[in-house]
Amino acid sequence: MKIGLVCPYTWDTPGGVRSHVADLALTLQEHGHTVSVLAPVDDPADLPSWVVDGGRAVSVPYNGAVARMNFGLKAANNVRRWVRDGDFDVLHIHEPLAPGLSLLACWVARGPIVATWHSSHVRSRMLSAGYYIAQTAMEKVRGSIAVSEDARRTLVAHVGGDAVLIPNGVRVAAFHEDGRLPQIAADVPTILFLGRIDEPRKGLDVLLDSLPMMIEQIPNIQVYVAGPGDLGEQHENLNPALSQSVTFLGRLSDKDKARALRSVDLYVAPHTGGESFGIVLIEAMAAETAVLASDLLAFRRVLEDGKSGALFANEDSSDLAAQAVRLLGDSAAREQLVDAGRTRVREFDWDVVVDDVIAVYESVGMPGEKVTTDIRGQIVGRLGMRPVS
């Protein structure tokens, strides 16, 4: 099939939706499909051949955060030209209500259109204000996919309509990265933390609070903290006695993240809330690392209530310390978690998940039907879509 994917957020900035689109595009290509991705691009220098530059993005406040997206007549023309030249069998729009390329693609295209809903906390104020526009664009979407039960509920409640649940995938093979991360010590018990260090919900404080208790039992323990964020505050608060046991690695590339996961004995996810899915746990299981996570509902679901990863009471540093000490001292228990995780993660492997996505593609159109451009009946369309030569 010839598939057009639209990503509303800049290709240059890492993010959940952007990596979802990239992984889906790569997997579809491995399965023999032709894929073109339209996304805003800041630096077109090392763009893969299958990504098309949708124009430079501007920063706008959207849905409680600042997102980089693009607008305007030029962007609309870019989208229209891409749709017209792409000759797609299916157009797959991500986060369709993000006011940028995604919404524009909904306006200018007609035919077999599929949309994936990622966000689970779209502000209802924005939706009610843009209700007519949203409704009109959404009516062209023939099949909706939601990546989580929360995202599905948001769609049903605020926009109306139904969605098929297809979870986020992980490219499992990409986490079998060879070689250790040289910064990580090989001969002592090691723990890894991933995530923004200045975001309280990621729970770094809970982990650091538990460290003195762990050091009592395992004096040579080493904790590695990888992720972006301001180091200053964490450094100041860090007890000098602990500083020998903690190493800040900063932001890691995807490859180094996989290496870091494979180099440590235990991955700890002390998140205190706000997680709807827990993709990071799946990544750790894909890298064949034992997982210890807080007992948030989303994490309990992913870890099958402790079967494929150990759990500790959320925000309870002493429980975290006790569980970590137990696991670090028991390689057989860790091995068992890794084995269970390897089985669990197969359900989320893009290689498997992509079949469900293709089933959706094949259910929205008639054989031989193509995506075409649409300028009918839309006032905005008439103003914005001058004929392109």
Binding site: R142, G161, A359, Q378
Partner: protein, 180 residues
Amino acid sequence: MWLLIIITLLLVILGLYLSMTAGRIDRLHLRIETSSLALDAHLLRRSSIALELATAGVLDPASGLLIADAAHAARTSADLDAVSKAQAESDLTAALDAALEDPEETAEIEITELGSGLLDELDAAFRRVQLSRRFHNDAVRACRQVRSQFLVRIFRLAGHTAWPETCEMDDTRPHGLTER
């Protein structure tokens, strides 16, 4: 004078709204037509594979006969009204479920390459039927919502197109397929 301007303005806004809404309804009708055709295509695919499975000699003769009969009835239901057609498709689902209910028995069909290939295809067809029926009913729901608006009804924006109906049938995958 001002009154005239205001009335004209209101009429223009009403006109624009009606024209845009008529466009929406037109698009929704087109979407329902397409989704219904897609659903029919997947139902036809399912009954073809069911017929193939029934006559391939991988089932016991009684199940084979049951499925072949139901598949034939489903394939020839195209000219019937929507309710009888849905009934014929539900009957096929029931026949397939009767034959493929037990995962252990289904596992025996899978021993042969022919059997396992047909089960793969049947399962894929089942899932596409489920998805396309869901998408079709979603399109019907969206269309009904617009068509029941007050202005749409008094200005008859939907024209003479029949009130859209959802497709109600049993398309539950047989236990033996889900447990594979």
